[in-house]
Symmetry: C2
Subunit: 254 residues, 2 copies
């Protein structure tokens, strides 16, 4: 059902990268092949799977800026078995300014990804925290969007805005675009605020919210130190188990 999936939320620090890398890790355990695409010049996904965005020449910036660079040229194996990565590099920060003069600027990623995407079960695109051309390119080529959300008061208003933008992109560029699911992340059990936001989330977007909740745990935050997904550095931790359950739930919906 969904083949190309964006991890999107314009709010910063809500768990886009963490959900992307850890869901990929859990799906890889189940034998799925995944292409990871890092669209954030901060390169957190790239770092999180064992590569260095500074060393990445060429990287995703080049793919989007220069017609002659093919997608294939930027793909590397990651530390995750069965998962490759198209790493970010700093040139991504120039993309917004540079490509906004070209007419089909929202479709550049789509055209280039076409060449390689059928080699993988899933393509996971990690978006930056902004509604910029990078995010628009990602959403324009996606079938499904996974939206990580933290259960804090600001989050619901932001989600509403995100869903409106997704509708705009669907009507303008991409009728296949759907919400694959909404993931509550870094969930703080036993806090009233989190419980209230979670129940309102279910009330408004019920069918879309995954039953699996990713709880707050310092073990998750170690990801960038280990530079691999949790299922690879903390195999039996409850949150690794939660990511495996999220992977099951994700597959059931497919």
């Amino acid at each position: 059902k969904h083949h190309v999936i964006s991890f999107a939320n314009q709010k910063g620090g809500v768990g886009k990268t963490t959900t992307c890398v850890n869901l990929a890790g859990a799906l890889s355990e189940k034998g799925k092949t995944i292409l990871l695409v890092d669209m954030d010049y901060q390169g957190n996904l790239t770092l999180g799977v064992g590569l260095d965005p500074g060393d990445s020449r060429p990287g995703m910036g080049d793919v989007l800026l220069y017609p002659e660079v093919s997608f294939r040229e930027v793909i590397h194996p990651s530390v995750i078995p069965n998962a490759d990565i198209a790493p970010a590099n700093l040139d991504l920060s120039k993309v917004d300014i540079n490509i906004d003069k070209r007419p089909e600027r929202h479709g550049i990623l789509h055209d280039k990804l076409h060449e390689v995407k059928d080699n993988y079960d899933y393509v996971f695109i990690d978006c930056p925290p902004a509604f910029n051309l990078l995010t628009v390119n990602s959403l324009s080529t996606s079938d499904g969007i996974i939206i990580p959300i933290q259960c804090y008061p600001y989050s619901l208003a932001g989600l509403n805005t995100l869903l409106e933008i997704i509708d705009d992109i669907r009507y303008a560029y991409n009728f296949d675009l759907e919400i694959a699911g909404i993931v509550p992340t870094a969930y703080e059990t036993n806090t009233r605020i989190a419980a209230d936001v979670l129940s309102e989330l279910h009330e408004r977007y019920g069918g879309k919210v995954y039953d699996t909740i990713i709880r707050k745990s310092v073990k998750v935050a170690e990801g960038p130190l280990h530079r691999k997904p949790m299922v690879m550095y903390a195999r039996s931790h409850p949150v690794s188990q939660a990511y495996r359950e999220l992977a099951e739930e994700f597959l059931r919906r497919e």
Copy 2:
């Protein structure tokens, strides 16, 4: 020493808005007058001091896009005594694309702010999580920058990048630009990761790191529900007290 202060960090969700509103609240208690400037179209600062970015016509977007709109036209009292706000509105999201063709585009905020800034003890500018024209405008008119940082592994690499960009802006546009201070936010006491990152922070940037640490507390996250700073909705809470200590430390360095 520092009169115009940007709250900046390109990483999302690290506490720029929360530090801005709560430090303003604590300084207002001490009788300081503050102009709050919301440069993030998501309008979290605007919401956090009792206004609605959706209703803000004109707002900061108009100030930056249209030469005929004066800064004075967008200023409103906020819920904080002694603090006014220049609210964000959605047009800020158009700013990057629109004003990047004009030659002096990095200095538009500086030119317009000039008209009103001497009416206040401090001008606090809340930046979006990006190195876009909005952040460049903010940094180009600031004397000091307060950098909130969360003690997670990704944060130090991000801080390094931020400091390089700040140097570029200093040499290109604004020799007065300095780091006023670095604030550890949402600090998770008793976790090894946080303690390690904090000590490395002190090792690398010792003199700049404030002694005051803002600990993680669900009471802080209630800010957007109350739509006022913590010192106004949780007067005797330990974190409100921490913000008062941060205000003292901020003033001592001035």
